[in-house]
Subunit: 630 residues, 2 copies
């Protein structure tokens, strides 16, 4: 059928199973084709086609609340809720978001991006329902990967205790992004192979009836056993122990099985967990056969071959540069241990993992544990390398403060995807890290100007034994500069002048250096001479150079691809005023005080006014070095 | 015995059981007496006397690693490791810390304060051991309350998966701080009453042998049952499912039972969980009979009567003021729901809970879940009131950013214990919240000058429907000002001039207002006229007033009992420079870039130079309004 004609999900309620199967095929074809051009989370969405249809058939959205954990598997939901026509704009600037978005549709009741939030949100919605006395179903859909996130476990514990009515759909595809890890995963594996719960329950009842009557202690044990059918080892005992009714496993690609179990769940009181087995990438063989996570989220690809459309990149991937440099150093430094919270592919740790399997720990989606695990290692003289995305490090803020920095432990934080990340949008922008790290005592925070400096910074971080040290680096690829053969240490807290100038100074670092240099070039043509400084250490800053610059009385412009409030520019202001340079002309450019949505990085930079042209303009406005107000 | 003579914990290795019992009695007497003067965490420590002795007997600290989760239960450990003589200085300025401290003793291998970190730390230490090929035991001691923290559950999941050798001591006193909540607690309750694991295992084996031979499906079920002894419902199935060997329950006050189980645990491979039942407050009846958590941590008390030595407080407790004002408003506003992460006593929510039992949720130690639960409630039009300490809100930074503020939801954060907290020291100082919240879009952040303004701010927060709003307030009691009968709204983003002046301006808020006014008074005697502004909204600031003040060209001093980097003073600097007031003389006072240890708040303020005298001096130095360098 023409999917763009679907206006409301109620359309699936009256279809026959053959029609639903046809719809599923149409949706798969649609997704494979559309995403081949836009890119997106193809694997997760192909896996939940039947499940999403079944949910919209059995529940009445938006009255009933479908809450998509992580959210990148909501494409089918978007199609069924009248947004198919917008898929050409998926993840594009001003286009359809790759995640649920409340402003897009009344059917999106909760916005996600970071994983493991759905159960807490569902609990809140369920409590509200119960207090208001309404009767909607609350249906969080959470993946097996997201379930290991601490906050999801906290929520399970609370929901099971309160016995709140809700239907948790556990979408188990045996993967988080990469293949799953953790004891919970092992539990799910046993459940998957154990057969149906209800069946076993009946059989066991029969079996127990055959136990001969016995006396004394033994009788008590038998009684206990009979009383405790629900704790049956062969099925969801883990979840039953937590207070949930376990249903499953359910074949997530079989409508009859899905309908039957969802209907059963709707009749039950208290929290129910429906364990649905799905196949990530179902219906598109390159994605279906993916064992490592390559097809979790992709750029454009050729449908026939399943090959990715390579955009020409100047330099190596930043993640690879960092991980491979650490790998090289690990050959001679046995202290190095690598840790990733479920991102071995994204962080390009495959090489490290294959060379040092004993020194590589994928802890699953568990950023807090990852960070404190690193701290524990460091107490014993190890040098943990924690590869973590900026946006996910937000989850471990307290562990950074309380466990790592307070104890001044030698942890190397490799903060990936720092700055704007583009298509993933507002939930994933890595723009807060400077502001949430700069005030933490003992931490060294730096960002390299290019991949060559990047590899030297990695070396510096590994060699540094003065406490925690963090290097942030952007998503994507380096500039294509030559890489020095020999690694060298960069003196902590030193900046470098990239271009000399006598009329104004730009202090910046990382990705925004190129726009600063470009602006300086433009300005030179207008006769304005601008000094550009690579302020590669955000903490500690280069105090000697700052004194020199401030003493020179040149106007200063700071630029950062990060939030302005409390960021690097603020650090420069603080320094100036703390040292009595009260008349210094200092202005700041960066990300304003609002969440930045999705789009290409260059579009977003243009939107917020971070381009070479804007920089050049700004320099001109601060050039007449005088106070403008009062 | 004279406990101050103990130099090394090996002393307990050669004692007889009667001697150890005598030692236990001596330690209890010592703790009850010492803490009656200094205050401290009496309940938790009285509960772990025998357990701590047993651990030091069976393990060789510091080679073997004893890791005390939360850490406030390490007093007995401190006594046994040669620190008894220092107990008169417990939690005093420059005295013995109330938590493990690596600088105090080689036996303190991990510093804690926030809960639930011990398992991750232990995992790190265990990995380091295994990579280095050494053979020490790794022994985290974690409470039943701390176990519900998400990061502890993340760690359990990872440890169980990796099968890492370690011995987890689960110190189960059925309390976290207040009585425990959560499904895990129910599980532990069943375990406590279920009898010994080993016993049941044997019995069941016998029972199963009696099951008659059967064919077909039934036989398969019987086989599965036999294969699965370790999943036995009556005992630690929850932990066994997660990959741990479960031992227990063990009587935590019975040396024989403790020794036997610890020895057994030492022989096992992989992770072992020893479930030890202890009695909080054991041996001191007021603490032993405490059912709500009053004796968890206390100030000085009279030993004979168990009555607390009341220090004369001017005003009501801040926590009570806030919670009781919300309670009052909840009578007419059915949207209000209260949430606490395990702090119903500390946050003085007893009254609210008894009046509105259906609208009060103690979620256990689970700050992340608490925050996103609030977000979920807010999506349904409710008005959640999240009572949370500043230091624990650090755990929920990502949930504040990603779930609450990004979705601009009406959550009221009541941030308790903001600023210096005194005796609990560096792990608990609430000094980072301004810096980690100020850069989050959509959030209103405020702090009242006294309890009367405080109650009006609570009212303002409840009435405000523009998104998230946070009110921070200090530990302890109000100033004793009269409370208005009628509550009134304070206009968001407005400051007030508390004292007029013509030579300089002080911008400050909350607790530091009194020192500003005192300094202004002192300065007035010297003929210096200082304007003092109650900058009660940290975000948004009072822009009209800022323009006016900056235009007046008076020098400005900002004061905050919070970290300077990225804090309120930085916000003022940012504002000035963003609006072209480049010649403004602005200086900042606050907490420097290091962790602040324990002591009374006044001692700590003196140490960091935050007193009226310092303020007066600083005003004098900025009075000659001219640039001092260059
Ligand atoms: Mg999955
Ligand atoms: Mg406890």
């Amino acid at each position: 059928m023409d999917l763009t004609k679907i206006e409301h999900p109620r359309v699936v309620k009256t279809m026959s199973i053959p029609q639903l199967k046809q719809l599923s095929a149409d949706i798969r074809r649609f997704l494979i084709e559309k995403l081949s051009k836009t890119g997106g989370h193809i694997g997760p969405n192909l896996g939940v086609v039947e499940l999403t249809i079944a949910l919209h058939r059995e529940f009445d959205s938006p009255k009933d609340k479908l809450i998509w954990d992580v959210g990148h598997q909501s494409y089918v939901h978007k199609i069924l809720t009248g947004r198919a026509a917008e898929f050409d704009t998926l993840r594009q600037y001003k286009g359809l978001s790759g995640f649920p978005k409340r402003s897009e549709s009344e059917h999106d009741v909760w916005e996600t991006g970071h994983s493991s939030t759905s159960l807490s949100a569902a609990m809140g919605m369920a409590i509200a329902r119960d207090l208001k006395g309404t009767d909607e179903y609350i249906v969080p859909i959470i993946g097996d990967g997201a379930l290991t996130g601490g906050m999801a476990l906290e929520a399970l514990n609370h929901i099971g205790h309160e016995k709140t009515d809700m239907i948790v759909i556990l979408n188990d595809n045996e993967m988080s992004i990469a293949p799953n890890v953790g004891a919970l995963h092992n539990i799910l594996g046993r459940l998957r192979t154990a057969g149906k719960y209800q069946w076993v329950k009946d059989e066991l009842e029969l079996l127990l009836k055959r136990i001969p009557a016995v006396g004394g202690k033994l009788a008590a044990t038998a009684e206990r056993l009979k009383d405790s059918l629900k704790y049956l080892l062969v099925s969801g005992v883990f979840f039953e122990e937590l207070g949930f009714t376990y249903l499953g496993p359910v074949d997530g690609h079989d409508f009859d099985d899905l309908f039957e179990n969802l209907r059963y769940a709707k009749k039950m009181k208290g929290p129910v967990l429906v364990h649905v087995i799905t196949k990530k990438g179902k219906g598109y063989s390159p994605a279906e056969n993916d064992k490592v996570g390559t097809w979790h989220g992709t750029g454009p690809y050729k449908i026939e071959t399943g090959t990715f459309v390579k955009t020409k990149e100047a330099g190596p991937s930043w993640s690879a540069l960092v991980s491979e440099t650490v790998r090289r150093l690990a050959r001679t430094d046995p202290r190095i241990v690598a840790i990733t919270p479920a991102m071995p592919v994204g962080s390009k740790l495959e090489g490290f993992a294959s060379e040092f399997p004993d020194r590589m720990f994928d802890v699953g989606i568990a950023e807090q544990h990852a960070t404190t695990l690193a701290a524990g290692l460091a107490t014993q003289g190890m040098k943990p390398f924690l590869a973590i995305y900026s946006t996910f490090l937000q989850r471990a803020y307290d562990q950074v403060v309380h466990d790592v920095c307070r104890q001044n432990l030698n942890v190397f934080f490799a903060i990936d995807r720092a700055g704007l990340v583009g298509a993933d949008g507002e939930t994933h922008q890595g723009v807060f890290d400077i502001a949430f790290l700069r005030h933490v005592p003992n931490l060294v925070l730096m960002m390299p100007k290019d991949e060559n400096e990047g590899q030297h910074m990695v070396y510096t971080a590994i060699r540094y034994d003065g406490g925690p040290i963090a290097m942030r680096f952007p998503r994507g690829n380096g500039l294509g500069v030559p890489l020095d053969e020999e690694l060298k240490e960069i003196s902590i807290g030193t900046w470098e002048v990239l271009r000399d100038g006598s009329d104004a100074v730009i202090l910046t670092f990382g990705t925004t250096i190129s726009m600063a240099l470009e602006a300086a070039e433009q300005l030179a043509r207008d006769g304005v001479s601008v000094k550009v400084v690579n302020a590669r250490f955000l903490k500690p800053m280069d105090e000697a150079m700052l004194h020199e610059l401030l003493a020179s009385r040149l106007p200063i412009l700071t630029i950062e691809e990060a939030v302005l409030q409390g960021g690097f520019g603020s650090a420069v202001l603080e320094f100036a005023h703390d040292h009595g340079y009260h008349q210094a002309v200092i202005e700041r450019m960066g990300i304003p005080d609002r969440f930045i949505e999705h789009g290409s990085v260059s579009e977003l930079l243009r939107e917020i006014g971070l381009t070479a042209a804007h920089v050049a303009d700004r320099i001109k406005t601060i050039m007449p070095r005088k106070q403008k107000r009062a």
